[in-house]
C-alpha cells in the first residue's frame, strides 16, 4: 500500500522534474551561444529570483507577487480541464474582470474594506459570466469550447483596448490609461515598497478551496467524473452538462479574481497593452502542474521566478536578453507534453536495472 502511494507520487513528479532539468540544460546551451559564463548565469538567475539580499529588497517577494495572477488563472484552467472542458478562455475572463475592477475602482466611492470586497465580488461575477458564454455554447449548442474561447479572447483584448482609449481614458497622455483607482479600492500590501500583499493570500486560499472542492466534495467528484468520462458519469446519474457549466462558472470567477488583484494590487489602473498573456501563463502552469491545485501553486512560483530572474539577473547584470526565461518555460511545456518520450526511456532504464536481479534469481533457482 505504502509502496503504491510512493510510486504514484514518483510518477507524478518524475516527468515534470526531468522536463525542468532538460529545460535548464537547454538554457545552458542558449547562454553558451552568447559567450557568457554559464555557471555564473545560473547563480545570478536563482539569486535574483528566489534570493533575499536584505529585508525590503527581497527577490522572492517580487516573485510571489508576480506568481499571484498565474496561480489564479492556473487554477481556473485546472477547474475547466478537470470537467472535460478544454477551454483556453482564461485570458479573456481575466481581461473582462480587469475592466470591471478598473471602472469600479474610481467610479464608485465606498468605505475602505467594503470597496475592495465589492470589486472582488463584481470581478468574480464578470469573469464567471464571461466563462459561462463558452460553457453555454458548448453544452446547449455543441460549439467547440476551444474555438469559441479563442474568439472570445480576441474580443476581450479589443474590448479592453477600446475601454482604455475611449470611455475610461484618464487624461490625454501619449499612452492611454484609465484614472488611478481610489485608495479604498486598493489591496493592502505587507511591506512598504513591495506590491506583495493580500492578493497572494487570496490566491493561497483559492488553492486550498479548489483542492477541497475537487477532491473532498460531491460536486467536485461529479465534476471530475464528468471530465474523465462523460458517459460513465451519465450512467452514474451525474449530468455532465451541469457539471461542465458549474466548472465554467467557477473557472471564470477564478480568472476574474486574477484580473481584480492585478488591477487592485499591482497596476492600480488599466492601460493599453494590459493583456500580456497572463491567461496563457496560467494555462501552462496548469499543464505543467499536472492539473492539480498544488502543482499549479508550485509551478506558478517557479515560472514567475524564472521570468524575474531572467529580467533582473540575466538581462541587467549579464546582458543576456530576458526573453530567455519565457523561452525556457516554453520548452519545459514541450518536454512535459512529450512525456511519452521520457516514459519510454524510463521504462527502458528500469527494465535494464531490473535485469541483473532477474538473472541472479534464475541462477539461484538453478
Amino acid at each position: 500500500m505504502e509502496n503504491k502511494k510512493l510510486k504514484k507520487i514518483l510518477d507524478a513528479f518524475l516527468v515534470p522534474v526531468l522536463a525542468i532539468l532538460s529545460g535548464l540544460v537547454l538554457m545552458a546551451v542558449l547562454i553558451a551561444i552568447t559567450g557568457k559564463p554559464v555557471l555564473e548565469s545560473y547563480g545570478i538567475l536563482f539569486s535574483k529570483a528566489f534570493g533575499c539580499e536584505k529585508i525590503g529588497n527581497c527577490a522572492i517577494i517580487t516573485t510571489l507577487e508576480r506568481a499571484t495572477p498565474i496561480i489564479l488563472t492556473g487554477l481556473a484552467a485546472v477547474v475547466a480541464f478537470r470537467s472535460g472542458m478544454f477551454c483556453i478562455g482564461q485570458e479573456g475572463q481575466y481581461l473582462m474582470a480587469a475592466v470591471v475592477a478598473g471602472y469600479l475602482g474610481y467610479a464608485i466611492h465606498l468605505p475602505n474594506g467594503v470597496h475592495q470586497i465589492v470589486i472582488l465580488l463584481a470581478c468574480m461575477a464578470a469573469g464567471a459570466a464571461y466563462g459561462y458564454i463558452p460553457g453555454f455554447l458548448k453544452v446547449k449548442l455543441g460549439v467547440n469550447e476551444l474555438l469559441a474561447t479563442i474568439i472570445l479572447n480576441t474580443v476581450a483584448t479589443l474590448f479592453i483596448e477600446y475601454m482604455v482609449q475611449f470611455p475610461m481614458r484618464g487624461d490625454k497622455s501619449t499612452t492611454a490609461h484609465s484614472p488611478t483607482i481610489d485608495a479604498t479600492a486598493q489591496l493592502p500590501t505587507f511591506l512598504p515598497g513591495a506590491k506583495w500583499g493580500v492578493g497572494f493570500i487570496i490566491a493561497v486560499l483559492a488553492v486550498i478551496v479548489i483542492f477541497i472542492y475537487l477532491w473532498k466534495t460531491k460536486a467536485g467528484y461529479e465534476q471530475r467524473m464528468a471530465g474523465q468520462s462523460k458517459f460513465f458519469a451519465l450512467y452514474g446519474g451525474v449530468s455532465s452538462d451541469k457539471a461542465a457549466l458549474r466548472a465554467m462558472l467557477i473557472s471564470g470567477a477564478l480568472a476574474g479574481l486574477a484580473g481584480a488583484i492585478e488591477v487592485m494590487g499591482v497596476h492600480r489602473r488599466i492601460m493599453t497593452g494590459f493583456s500580456t498573456g497572463l491567461g496563457f501563463d496560467g494555462l501552462t502552469a496548469a499543464i505543467l502542474g499536472q492539473t492539480h491545485p498544488f502543482g499549479v501553486f508550485i509551478v506558478s512560483i517557479l515560472f514567475a521566478g524564472l521570468k524575474l530572474g531572467a529580467q533582473l539577473g540575466l538581462q541587467l547584470k549579464l546582458g543576456i536578453p530576458r526573453e530567455l526565461g519565457g523561452t525556457i518555460i516554453g520548452f519545459i511545456i514541450l518536454f512535459i507534453a512529450a512525456r511519452k518520450f521520457y516514459e519510454n526511456n524510463i521504462d527502458r532504464v528500469s527494465s535494464w536495472l531490473k535485469k541483473p536481479k532477474k538473472l541472479k534469481a534464475k541462477r539461484e533457482e538453478n
Binding site: 542558449l30 551561444i33 552568447t34 478544454f86 483556453i88 455554447l137 449548442l141 455543441g142 460549439v143 467547440n144 476551444l146 474555438l147 469559441a148 479563442i150 474568439i151 472570445l152 479572447n153 480576441t154 474580443v155 483584448t157 479589443l158 474590448f159 483596448e161 477600446y162 482609449q165 475611449f166 496563457f280 494555462l283 501552462t284 499543464i287 546582458g319 536578453p321 526573453e323 530567455l324 526565461g325 519565457g326 523561452t327 518555460i329 516554453g330 520548452f331 511545456i333 514541450l334 512535459i336 507534453a337 512529450a338 511519452k340 518520450f341
Partner: protein, 322 residues
C-alpha cells in the same frame, strides 16, 4: 457622415488586400489542417517564425526572394516536427501549439537581441522589400485594375493558392482522401488511406503557408522585425478559417473581410471619431455566429436523423405486428 464615406477608396481595397494576405495564407493552411482532422493552433508561432527567419535570411543571403524561400522551408520543418511529435510520441497538438507559441515569441526576440544588439525592433538598409509587380493588361482596366494589380508576388501567390487548394480538395481524388481522413480517420484507414501521411502533409504545408504569411509582414509589407510582429494574426487566421467553414474560397473571403475591416478601422480614425477597436470586433462576432450556426446545423441534422430512425423503427414494428 461625409468623412465616413470618403474612406471608401481604391486605397482602402489595396491596403485591405495587403493586410489580408498573411491571413489568407495562414488561414488556408489552418483550413487544410482542419479538413484533415488535425487542429493547428500554432499558426501564430509559425507566422512569427517566418517573419523572423525570412528577414534574417534576406539579410545574410542578400536576396529577399531567397529569404522567402528559407522562411517557407523553416515553416515546413516546424510543421513536420509537429506531425512527428504528434504521431510518434502522441503529444497533444493543442499543448504543443501553446508551447511553441510561447517558445517562438520569446526565442525570436532572444535571437534578434543576440545577433543584432539590444534592440526592440531591427532592420537593415541593405534589405530590399519584395517589389510590387504590375500585371500587364489588367492594370489598365479602370478601377478594377487599380484593385487587382500592383502587389508583390506573395499576394498573387495567396490567390493562386486559394484556387489550387479548392481544386485539390474538391476536384481531385487526393482531396477526397484528405477530407475522408478528416471526417473519420479510422474509416479512412480501413480503406487503405495513409492517414498519418496525409496529416503530416497538411501540417507541413500549413507551416509553410503560415511562415510565408509571416515573411510577408517582415519583408513583403514593412521591412523590419519587431517583438511579437504577428500580433495575434495567427489566431485571427484560425477564426477566418472557421468563418469560411474551412472551404478554401470561403476562407479566402473571410480573410479578406478581416483584412478590409482592419484597413477600414485604421483609416476611419482619421476622419471620424468612431472607435477602431469596436470596428475590429465585427468580424470576430461574425465568426462566433458562424461557429454557432455550424453547430446548430449539426444539431438539427442529428435530431432529424434520430427522428427518422425512430419513425422507421416504429414502421417496422407495425409491419411485424401486421
Amino acid at each position: 457622415m461625409e468623412g465616413f464615406f470618403s474612406v471608401f477608396t481604391i486605397e482602402l481595397a489595396n491596403s485591405g488586400i495587403r493586410l489580408a494576405t498573411p491571413l489568407i495564407l495562414a488561414a488556408l493552411g489552418g483550413a487544410l489542417c482542419n479538413k484533415s482532422g488535425v487542429l493547428n493552433l500554432a499558426l501564430e508561432s509559425k507566422m512569427l517564425m517566418g517573419a523572423f527567419v525570412g528577414i534574417v535570411a534576406a539579410y545574410y543571403l542578400g536576396n529577399s526572394y531567397l529569404g522567402l524561400l528559407v522562411a517557407i522551408l523553416a515553416g515546413g520543418l516546424l510543421g513536420a516536427l509537429f506531425a512527428f511529435l504528434y504521431h510518434k510520441y502522441e503529444v497533444d497538438l493543442v499543448i504543443l501549439a501553446i508551447a511553441f507559441n510561447l517558445i517562438i515569441l520569446e526565442l525570436t526576440v532572444y535571437m534578434m537581441r543576440i545577433m543584432f544588439g539590444n534592440v526592440g525592433s531591427w532592420s537593415d538598409p541593405s534589405i530590399v522589400r519584395i517589389p510590387d509587380i504590375e500585371i500587364p493588361l489588367i492594370k489598365d482596366i479602370p478601377v478594377i485594375g487599380g484593385i487587382l494589380s500592383g502587389y508583390n508576388i506573395i499576394v498573387y501567390f495567396s490567390w493562386f493558392m486559394t484556387i489550387a487548394m479548392y481544386i485539390v480538395l474538391y476536384k481531385m481524388k487526393f482531396g477526397r482522401h484528405i477530407r475522408a481522413v478528416g471526417e473519420n480517420k479510422e474509416a479512412a484507414e480501413t480503406v487503405g488511406i495513409n492517414a498519418t501521411l496525409i496529416q503530416t502533409m497538411a501540417l507541413t504545408i500549413s507551416g509553410m503557408l503560415a511562415a510565408l504569411g509571416g515573411a510577408f509582414l517582415s519583408i513583403g509589407h514593412l521591412k523590419l522585425f519587431t517583438r511579437n510582429m504577428s500580433n495575434g494574426r495567427g489566431w485571427t487566421a484560425i477564426a477566418a478559417a472557421l468563418f469560411g467553414a474551412n472551404h478554401p474560397i470561403g476562407t479566402f473571403l473571410a480573410s479578406l473581410f478581416f483584412g478590409i475591416t482592419e484597413a477600414f478601422s485604421v483609416r476611419i480614425q482619421n476622419v471620424t471619431d468612431l472607435p477602431p477597436n469596436l470596428i475590429e470586433l465585427l468580424p470576430n462576432f461574425a465568426t462566433l455566429i458562424v461557429l454557432i450556426s455550424i453547430a446548430l446545423r449539426e444539431k438539427v441534422r442529428e435530431t432529424n436523423a434520430r427522428r427518422h430512425f425512430r419513425a422507421r423503427l416504429k414502421a417496422e414494428e407495425q409491419q411485424k405486428a401486421a
